[in-house]
Amino acid sequence: MTVEQTRYVIIGASAACMSAATAIRESDSCGDITVLSMEQEMPYFRPMIPFLISGKKSEPEMSLIGNGPFKEPKIQIRTGTRVTSVDTDNKTVTVGNSDSISYDRLLIASGSNPFIPAEIKKMSAEGVYSLRTLGDAKKIAARSSKTRRAIMLGGGLLNLKTAFALLERGLKVSLVVYSGQVLSQLMEPDDAKLIHKALDRAGLEIITGCDIKKILTDKDGVKGVVLSNEKKVEGEMLLIGKGVSPNVGFLDKSNVSIDRGIVTDEYTAANIKDVYAAGDVALTIDSLTGKKNISGLWTNAVEMGRCAGFNMAGKQTRYCGVAGILNATQVADISFVSMGIVHTKGAGYETHIAETQKAFRKLVFSSDGKRLVGAVFIGDIERAGLYRYLILEKRNIEKIKKQIINHQLHYGHFLQ
């Protein structure tokens, strides 16, 4: 007797893909899983790539398969394989010029590409990079060894982590931020004061309120930039960190519905039968704001990929969507988390702020004061998970509000 094997094809090989593959394997032991990755390397933990630049981790230490929740799920991974089109009528995927692969269920987890402003694209020169892949990290690490000063554009989390990697290598780093603060997507200007101080202590030069007007070059590539305020900054490397955009170009001729990213329903399915999407390429609904959202977070991609995997293997699993902002990290010598709704200026939220020399806490409640909707903790992030739980579960917190505000909340309060 032969068993009909389901053919699963996954485009992409990062968080969403690998958790989907693991989930499929948990529910379907014999299906055929093929992963198509345009990157040259086997799957790796993408958030760790700044550590390759600093030299703190080597490539094998970032390998994904066999680590954490990612088991060896007996799948076929084709690296260096670029998907050029998807034909949903005939259920095939074309790779390269002509090679066609048939699927029964398709997951598009093609991730995102760095967004490079058009005026910078025009000026591109040797030594201008954006950090997205392990391949990029290798190039940046190689260039770093002959660079004394680096210039970075953009004040997001990845850029800050990369800035620290370069500082650790002994480079001088200037960070150019268009807005008045770093991490503007994760907190408001007044909230970021402690972070700015920590960055100063660490020796990072931050230039706010500026853009890059011109890239200066010589025979070795970049040698500096001219800012929008006409000031010159010297540097032999320029890193662009202006966010990402979903990688959907190869779907141009397909019938897959796209609104910036691939439109997905609550079961992670696209508009066409047997096609699913997860991770940075998928458009979902932010569970807190109710707005359309493309997440771009590793943890969200893992969760959505896992849902997609179960759905593809026939185990119906609802994806609840998560908040667009759910970040934790260590910046220089300070820890912080930012969760849920944190931009409150001008909106009708009830906010409570407590500040000391070393710590900052901001709690955001709904206008009726009955639900916690967001939190920013800097310095002391102890038990942040309890607050995250309250935010995502939209629990009525009236009975424990005092403990929340006074930073006394513990798990026992949930049992009362």
């Binding site: 933990f45 230490e61 994904l64 954490g68 893992v302 260590q330 969760m339 998970g385 513990h410 009362q416």
Partner: protein, 168 residues
């Protein structure tokens, strides 16, 4: 295969003496001797927390080693995995101190070791037959048992009470 044991908490038996916290920190110290441990640097860290629920009720809170552990799925460096015994462990060498696990743990029981910049939590005392906190608890508020035995014992105790109540 034998079913692995877990640490259960009997909330009604905890009297808030903090013995479990001390035993935990001691077990995770370098010397494992109380006199030496208190002067160690970095200070030994406890992974169990006795919390006050109300005026007359306390409870120890510790890692539940969740079946679908949010920390394990959220970890961005693959440092958290589950052993065959069902223990969710953080591999110190792999941990990069990003605190994502701290942010997603719904029990609030993952600590930050700031000297090492590593996350830490209950490891169920791999060098001991019975975890230190369980051995130290004077009122048996902490029980180390398999799920089957624990619920069977709970059922037996409940039926005894019922029978006693009916004069049986």
């Amino acid at each position: 295969m034998t079913t692995p044991k877990e640490i259960f908490v009997k909330i009604d038996k905890c009297m808030g003496c903090h013995s479990c916290e001390l035993a935990c920190a001691l077990e995770h110290s370098k010397s494992k001797l109380l006199y030496n441990a208190i002067s160690e640097h970095p200070e030994p860290k406890k992974r169990i927390y006795v919390e006050w629920m109300s005026q007359d009720s306390r409870m120890p809170v510790l890692c539940r080693h969740c079946e679908d552990a949010p920390c394990m799925h959220a970890c961005i460096s693959g440092a958290i995995s589950r052993t065959e015994e069902g223990v969710v462990l953080t591999d110190k060498d792999k941990c990069i101190g990003c605190w994502t696990c701290v942010m997603v743990c719904p029990y609030g029981v993952i600590g930050r070791h700031m000297e090492e910049r590593k996350a830490y939590r209950c490891d169920r005392c791999p060098d001991r037959d019975v975890p230190a906190c369980v051995s130290a608890c004077p009122t048996h508020a902490l029980i180390y048992e398999t799920v089957e035995n624990f619920s069977s014992n709970t059922r037996k105790a409940a039926s005894k009470e019922l029978a006693a109540g009916h004069g049986g």
